[in-house]
Amino acid sequence: MYENIVTARHYEERLQEEYLEGKQPAFDISAGPIPGELHLAAGQEAAAAGVCQHLRDDDTVTATHRPHHVAIAKGVDLERMTAEIFGRQTGLGKGKGGHMHLFDPEVHFACSGIIAEGCPPAAGAGLAAKKRNEDSVAVAYLGEGAIDQGAFLESLNFAAVFDLPVVFVIEDNDWAISMPKERVTDVENGAKRADGFEMPGARVDADDAVEIYEVAGEAIGRARDRNGPTVLEVQVHRRMGHFMGDPQTYRPEEDQEAAAERDSIERLERDLRNHGVDDERIEEIREAAHERVEAAIEWAKEQPKPDPSDAHEDIFVNPPSGVTDSEPDFEFAGGDD
């Protein structure tokens, strides 16, 4: 868990540096080596590591627009994920998806930029496992802002009536872009959404990886044992803006400071020390994680950029005959002849 958390944190710190290249002094989202939006998850790593520690490669995870920490914890190929974020040909999606749309079928990982829309496919993965009589499970990640969304509530009902092996993990970071939780929902505890569907709901109030690990273990165990779905909400913190370039003028300074203070990494390090792990070992893990991240970024940056014409491929895996080129040479000559 510690290794996953420090890898994710360092990974995003490095992505942030790379992202800002070419975007300074004036921030232009379309400039620099990493294009498009970038949503970082600093402060939320425990939610990924604590849950995914229980998962196998054949368990499915659907993540959100803020996916890197979850992808790392689920074991997504770090090199190819990085190449994807840099828009390279050897990236997970050949440069077509980018940071919000990472797909690694080897470890059953997917994510989407549309709020709560990972929930129905997770229920679908659970349904497939049940139909095939396999003991794999599915985990759908969503933010606390997404718990008001129809796709989430419908998926809860669907998973409940068919007793599907699904765990819905709400990462409560208090903010949905500029909207604080209390202004858009009347429930303080998002796991209570489960009550309406007669399924268990649990909330972990501290961004404590160990506690998250324990509570998630019960939920995932229940799913694996065919005892149906669970909603699990975990408190995390958004240490940065919603996306890179977000000035956060809407956010009180105290809140930003409080988020920065609650560091799940330091907490976990304390726990490790209390359990007799010495500083040297902690440093060793940290360094290895840093090296791994550095290597992935170096590798990704050396990868070839896609050929512009690659844009026309992969719309179908089985292109209908006659539809091989998305840009037919079209010329219409009307008129008097």
Binding site: A26, R88, D148, K305, P308, S326, G335
Partner: protein
Amino acid sequence: MSENSAETRELTMSRAMVSAIAHEMRENDEVFYMGEDVADYGGIFDSTEGLREEFGYDRVMDVPISETAYLGAAVGAAQEGMRPIAELMFVDFFGVAMDQIYNQMAKNTYMSGGNVSVPMVLTAAVGGTYNDAAQHSQTLYGTFAHIPGLKIVVPSTAYEAKGLMHNAIRDDDPVLYMFHKRLMGIGWLPAPDGPKTPVPETDYTIPFGSADVKRTGDDVTIVTLGLHVHRALEAAEGLAADGIDAEVVDLRSLVPLDTDTVVESVEKTGNLVVVDEDYRSYGVTGEIVASVADEALAALDSVERVALPDVPIPYSRPMENEVVPDVDDIAAAVRRTQ
């Protein structure tokens, strides 16, 4: 309107939109604004900057991420006679609330035999050019223009943004107001020079269904809208150096569609190039070509369509540049007509 007149000032497109909204809100208590991040943030694309400060949370409402509920609530409030403006930041997200948009908002007037009206405005950002991939870059003009019952307007400059917004809020029917992110003038997404224009202080409307000839020319008609008005104008400048005189028609609204202005131009030039950032098949380019063919087939010497080939928009820059039409693509299409 003279550029130096005391009553005009240069505005970005987002400021122009906001000035029209603020004006209508001051004049009419029934107008209110709902959306995600529209109050404290001022809209992700600055589309509501400053409104909450003036009108408060009651009239500039941040809403839960529950698009079916709030877009549907806008329909319901409009049917009660209020004039809601609802914003869903990216048109790509419309799918989650599609029923409220294309079955309720669009069709209730018709199904009630004209007895129910839905005087609401739905605003959304459209367009790519900043590498945000397939779920955040679509234009989708064609998808919504295809549905009967929705008026679709697309500003290309600050002047258009204000006049069309005044008209949209006052219109008794549902209007989908689709603005291109690249034109808004936001810090993090630099706009080309064109969209920042002088804008009258006072209110004025631009009627829907009135296309605007942004450049006159004799050799070829370029019909387009939104961001691509500016790309077409730039292409036209380049072509002029080679002796090709292009006329650029800015549609400004897709529903209603001003076929007359397009046909008149094609009758003069004989050549038609339609440029659109939406997918090519079953879309705007096909519609314009078909309309001109219907009305003036004999005037057409050649036709070219420049649109997004039918691919989801790729993330990586070289691929996105390949599929989103640029100035060179437009110029090349024009040359093919000559």
